[in-house]
Amino acid sequence: MKRPGKIAKLLIKTFFKKPITGNYPADGSGMPEGFRGKLKFNPSACIGCKMCMRDCPSGAIEIRKTGEKQFEAEVNLARCIYCGQCVDSCLKKALEITADFELAKLDPAQLKVILNAANKEQPKA
């Protein structure tokens, strides 16, 4: 039957249900496994071939030599588009992508992070 207000039944039904929207961030609703977020770097596996730099579409990653067979990766979190191409391009599996997506900072300088040998992050000085 054609009539107005056909959706009213659904409205009344959902009125007594819990809201569908989550209470982010309190309820910890994160992203699913395999989500492309912040990069992780394993310096002991890196051989400094710079394939990741070559394929990065946004020029967000830089691999630098810090010593004999020692490398650090500088990632600009503001430039990175979280595509994960660098992970695909790295033949040594030195890069990994994590589901960490809460990366906003008030200070733009803190968006440049160095993933270094001790695997400790430091914002760029």
Partner: protein, 411 residues
């Protein structure tokens, strides 16, 4: 000329219908629109040119960002072209995965549209419910690809992520939920008089006009043009799947709604077929970094209509030319026709009914001095300073606020 004369009203460029900049010049006689013209060019991003500066691999990610809704459409059209030039055949499994993501994208895009259409006619309840259900498919896409919007599933020579058995089950479960909801919306659309009265006979585009103006996708199919690239020129796995091309003869916004709802049901069936038929095997083949010289025109049926990409290579790592024809560019011409002799109040829904994507459509505009005929390039900073100056003249001064803000941001 009417007794009181015609009034020309500029609408836009600040999102007149959807949240994108475009400008319409509407000639009004009373409440009726007598003529209209569309002006694009407020959101040009120079993506085609930028592609020439990047390698093919980098280009995939850039092309994906042509559109925030049909991101998979654009990247598939692009990689298909590159693969054809390189002369590689991708594995069957990769083709099926591309088809799976393509159909999930169509589901999310059509549900999004239904909500937007509800919003434009003041039926926000519909917007809330369709967008609630759309989350089901968005979550699914995030699980399968690693992102909600820019899936990044395509790479030259195949796809980047495989679909596991568990994921297949999740897909089927989500599709069941979505199908149930879509059936409810179909019931609603055919019986709820609020929708019928507001959509029937609005934004009429006759079959002849649709052909002569080159309408594509649901806009064309609602005017009886039974064309679908998936059927006419099968790509990915569409040649091996069974589906109907939905077309109706309503020629109005209601018809466009019916086509999209019908396509949703077809998409659910396509997803089920893909899950059932997906062959085992590798998901990528190796493609050399240097693509041999050649040119290819690639077609793809995006949710909004046929998407065309042209790629020309010159034997290096970077393309020589990339050209994108987004579906909105083909449909935007028909908007003026649909608005003719209609009421001003119908304008938002008529524009929204083609499901426009203006930033995907924007191409280069050149500003020319009418006297000297010389073109003039203005840099962003000049426009910004001009804006500040203009506001100052109006008595609004943001300098103090700006200082405060930059202090807060440590700029």
């Amino acid at each position: 000329m009417h007794k009181y004369g015609d009034v020309i009203v500029p609408i836009g460029p600040q999102h007149p219908a959807l949240k994108e900049p475009e400008s319409f010049l509407i000639t009004l006689r009373g409440e009726k629109i007598t003529a209209s013209s569309v002006r694009l060019g407020y959101n040009h991003r120079g993506i085609e040119k930028a592609c020439e500066e990047r390698t093919y691999t980098q280009g995939v990610y850039l092309i994906e960002r042509v559109c925030g809704i049909c991101s998979h459409s654009h990247s598939t059209a692009f990689v298909q072209a590159v693969e054809e030039i390189a002369g590689v055949e991708i594995p069957a499994r990769a083709k099926y995965i591309r088809t799976l993501i393509a159909e999930l994208e169509r589901i999310h895009s059509h549900l999004l549209w239904l909500g937007v259409a509800g919003h434009e006619i003041g039926f926000d309840t519909l917007l809330m419910y369709t967008w609630r259900d759309r989350e089901v498919v968005m979550d699914l896409l995030a699980k399968l690809t690693g992102n909600r919007v820019n899936y990044g599933i395509n790479t030259i020579g195949g796809v980047r992520r495989d679909v596991s058995v568990k994921q297949k089950e999740e897909v089927l479960k989500a599709i069941d939920t979505l199908e149930k909801q879509t059936k409810y919306y179909i019931d609603l659309a055919t019986k709820e008089t609020t929708l019928l009265k507001r959509l029937q006979g609005v934004g009429v585009l006759s079959h002849e006009d649709a052909i002569s103006l080159g309408a594509v996708g649901p806009t064309g199919r609602a005017s009886g043009i039974a064309r679908d690239t998936r059927k006419d020129d099968p790509y990915a796995a569409y040649g091996e799947l069974d589906f109907k091309v939905i077309s109706v003869d309503n020629c109005d916004v209601y018809g466009r709604t019916l086509v999209r709802l019908g396509e949703l049901i077809e998409s659910f069936s396509l997803v089920r077929q893909v899950i059932a038929k997906i062959p085992d095997g590798p998901i990528t083949v190796r493609v050399p970094r240097k693509i041999p010289a050649g040119e290819v025109l690639s077609r793809y049926e995006a949710p909004r209509g046929e998407d065309v990409h042209y790629v020309r290579s010159n034997g290096t790592e970077k393309p020589d030319r990339v050209k994108v024809r987004a579906p909105t560019l083909a449909n935007v011409q028909s908007v003026s026709k649909m608005l003719e002799d209609r009421y001003l109040a119908d304008m938002p829904i008529v524009i929204a009914a083609i499901d426009p994507c203006f930033s995907c459509t924007d191409r280069l505009i050149a500003l020319r001095d009418t006297q000297t005929k010389k073109s003039n390039t203005v840099i962003w900073e000049t426009i910004r300073l001009k804006g500040i100056e203009w506001y100052k003249q109006q008595g609004v001064d943001f300098t103090a606020l700006n200082k405060k803000l930059s202090k807060k941001l440590h700029l």
